[in-house]
């Protein structure tokens, strides 16, 4: 058998002829649509691919993307970043987190700024790399500032598991893991009596595929059932996204409303049962979590279970962490953008005071946010 190369895993899914082929099929199918449709790609990874590969340029005018809130870095509220900032500046502390988180500004600055003031901030590729840092610095307290959706939660749970099993005394956790379905639900159903609860323009969802590798596709069942919104769980390559769009349009044309999986090479209905059990063992749902740009979303995040309070930095450092509410920037319209009510360039501060280097709102924060993607790649799309 010939050896499998990394390239083999994605090259077919970026093939220009296949992409163009899907573009033609979509164009044909979209002619049968009776109205414009808005498809929300929930995940920042999708937004990144959509913009990087210029997919809107290959779609007919009656298909529109709404870029969703699925970037864990973008949605991190200032209050939580301030926690990281304060913790990082404590004596004898090394704050460890994942990549992009380092550059996101809170109200006091970013972790990069904390580092330039002398804080020891490190980024790791895998939460388990924290073990090595702890071993090399036995006299320091290592605080793992955990972020990410269901995709990265099991890795943090594994780290918790190892820390407890091996009785490692110098690793602590600040948990900011969030979950996807609850925020999707909030977007389509604000739940406010005096508010039009359908104050959005979402006609269908592309479901984040890596999340579903862990959770299974089952977490999206409520959308076709309760809200009459089709969901297609899609991979991140351009061919995946194009195929998923075709699947959505076909559902609408055939008057179906279903949960389908495009990313069949990794996702099934039930997901990774072992990873789910590990999450369940160490974490429980917090009452609510404040999403930058969207406000409080009930049951949309995890925290460590009470019995692990002795490794929970949020509890151990309670006395020094700031808990005041910080309002989102007033002119920022991220909330509207995430509901599909506005496009990034319709925001009065877009590209002027709000830029990737000085983001005011959540969508400008990481390359996976809608505004940052528009700023970086998007001007051509206005043609």
């Amino acid at each position: 058998m010939s050896k499998l190369h990394l390239e083999d895993l994605y090259s077919g899914f970026r093939d220009s002829n296949v992409i163009k082929g899907f573009s033609k099929l979509i164009e044909k199918e979209a002619k049968k649509l009776s109205k414009h449709i808005n498809i929300m790609e929930v995940c920042g990874g999708h937004t990144h691919s959509v913009m990087k590969y210029g997919l809107p340029q290959l779609l007919p005018k009656n298909i529109n993307f709404i870029h969703g809130p699925g970037c864990p870095v973008c949605i991190m509220p200032k209050e939580r970043i301030d926690h990281a900032y304060v913790l990082a500046l404590q004596d004898n502390v090394i704050l460890v987190t994942l990549g992009d988180m380092i550059k996101v500004p809170g109200s006091k600055g970013s972790l990069q700024d904390a580092r330039s003031k002398g804080a020891d901030v490190r980024f790791v590729y895998s939460p388990l790399d924290t073990l090595k840092i702890a071993e090399e610095n036995p006299e320091k307290k290592i605080i793992f500032f955990a972020i990410g959706f269901e995709t990265t939660t099991p890795m943090t749970a594994s780290l918790v598991d190892i820390v407890l099993q091996r009785n490692i005394k110098n690793i602590f956790f600040h948990i900011n893991h969030v979950t996807v379905p609850e925020v999707m639900e909030q977007l389509v159903d604000s739940g406010e009596v005096n508010h039009d609860s359908c104050d959005n323009r979402i006609d269908a969802f592309l479901g984040p595929s890596h999340v579903s590798v862990i959770t299974g596709s089952k977490i999206y069942e409520r959308f076709p059932q309760k809200y009459n919104l089709p969901v297609v769980v899609a991979g991140f390559e351009p061919v995946d996204i194009m195929e998923a769009i075709l699947m959505v349009i076909k559902q609408i044309n055939e008057s179906r409303c279903e949960l389908e999986i495009e990313y069949k090479r990794s996702v099934n209905h039930h997901g990774n049962i072992k990873a789910q059990a590990l999450i369940e063992k160490y974490f429980e749902k917090a009452l609510q979590f404040k999403w930058r740009g969207l406000g409080d979303v009930p049951s949309s995040s995890y925290m460590l279970r009470q019995e692990y309070a002795h490794i929970d930095a949020e509890k151990l450092y309670r006395d020094i962490l700031p808990f005041e509410e910080i309002e989102d920037y007033k002119l920022c319209i991220c909330g509207d953008i995430l509901r599909g009510m506005a496009k990034p360039h319709q925001c009065s501060v877009f590209g002027t005071t709000c830029k990737p280097s000085t983001p005011l709102g959540s969508c400008m924060v990481s390359s996976e946010g809608a505004c940052a993607a528009y700023y970086k790649y998007g001007n051509l799309l206005n043609e």
């Binding site: 190369h5 990394l6 390239e7 994605y10 220009s16 992409i19 163009k20 573009s23 990874g45 990144h48 913009m51 990087k52 590969y53 210029g54 997919l55 340029q57 290959l58 864990p72 870095v73 994942l98 990549g99 992009d100 988180m101 380092i102 550059k103 990069q112 700024d113 580092r115 330039s116 003031k117 980024f123 590729y125 972020i147 990410g148 959706f149 995709t151 990265t152 890596h210 351009p238 990737p356 280097s357 990481s366 390359s367 996976e368 970086k376 790649y377 998007g378 001007n379 051509l380």
Partner: protein, 332 residues
């Protein structure tokens, strides 16, 4: 600009340019400096003059070490102005406790690379600082070269030029990242670290009409193309599929969420040459082992002033911007 220096300000991209402009250009402002070329052109255009400091970690990496890098870096900056490197100075700051055999190894690499450039170190300085003050060893080199072909400048590129790349991109950045983060990959990913004098001089000797040359170091190919677009007030339209990228570099980018175009190179350069000279220039480059896969990658237009446009094989286009921030992996 931030009140404290951040690591992003050393990235070769946007923040770096801002620091240079707002602090250094502001203080040192003069006509030569403001041309913002790889090396300053002085003495009525006879000499090229450049300096560079090297702080790489790890000090030894696949394909080179800090010594080789220190000579290549400055010699390449001179070569990019059509000059032959002649004389270099070498300043070394060493951390207390540094191994003498390692130091000798580094100096031997410098000697080998100097010989390739027919250049010599004519003055130097050493400082030793207490343990913990620096990361092992920092090296600065400054060089003077004799300009063989005058008029090469990043400020004169026009629609008559085509833009070429000398080889596959991103090898240095990817090799350093893999070595630094201990990512064990069974591949022959090595830095492209190499002297470019011979290639440039061969192009000049063959009479190729070279408008501009620039080696794509920190900030990678993205930074060079954007600098050229701004300095020459042009639009550069790049055929994404024409850019050579090795499977190894592609793999690192896939794993860590990087763009190969943003990764640093240490022996890869971009050329703007007159359209009629493209195939001749490529033939010459293909005769060197360090540029076997040189390729034409972009045309010059005025479609979007001072912007770089990346055109995909599936018919879409997008802007390619300066790299910003630190190179950080995306998390999911």
């Amino acid at each position: 600009m931030n009140k404290n220096v951040t690591l992003a300000m050393g990235n070769g991209g946007q923040e770096n340019n801002e620091l240079i402009k707002k602090v250094f250009y502001k203080a040192f402002k003069n006509d030569v400096l403001e041309k913002a070329e790889d090396a300053a052109v002085i003495q009525n255009g006879d000499l090229a003059f450049s300096t560079d400091s090297f702080t790489v970690s790890p000090l030894f990496f696949p394909g080179g070490d800090i010594g080789k890098l220190a000579v290549c870096g400055t010699c390449n900056d001179l070569a990019m102005m059509g000059a032959r490197p002649k004389y270099l100075t070498c300043s070394v700051i060493i951390e207390e406790g540094f191994s003498i055999p390692k130091l000798e190894q580094i100096v031997t690499s410098m000697k080998t690379e100097l010989a390739k450039n027919s250049a010599m170190i004519v003055s130097g300085d050493t400082k030793v600082v207490p343990h913990g003050s620096i990361d092992g060893i920092f090296i600065n080199t400054t060089g003077i070269g004799e300009i063989i072909q005058a008029g090469i400048s990043s400020n004169n590129i026009s629609e008559k030029d085509t833009i070429l790349i000398s080889r596959d991109i991103g090898c240095h950045g990817a090799a350093i990242f893999a070595a630094r983060e201990g990512i064990e990959i069974s591949s022959n990913l090595t830095s492209d670290c190499a002297s470019l004098t011979d290639q440039v001089q061969a192009l000049i000797a063959a009479g190729i009409e070279i408008t501009a040359l620039r080696d794509a170091t920190r900030g990678g190919v993205s930074a060079v193309l954007n600098e050229w677009a701004q300095q020459s007030h042009i639009c550069i339209e790049v055929q994404e599929g024409a850019i050579p990228i090795s499977p190894e570099v592609h793999g690192i980018c896939e794993l860590l969420g990087f763009e190969a175009l943003d990764l640093a190179n240490e022996g890869t350069f971009l050329l703007a040459v007159k359209q009629e000279d493209v195939s001749k220039a490529l033939n010459i480059l293909h005769s060197f082992t360090n540029s076997l896969n040189a390729a034409a990658i972009a045309d010059v237009t005025h479609t979007y002033n001072e912007r770089v446009v990346l055109k995909s094989a599936h018919g879409t286009k997008r802007f390619l911007d300066f790299p910003t921030g630190e190179l950080l992996p995306r998390i999911c």
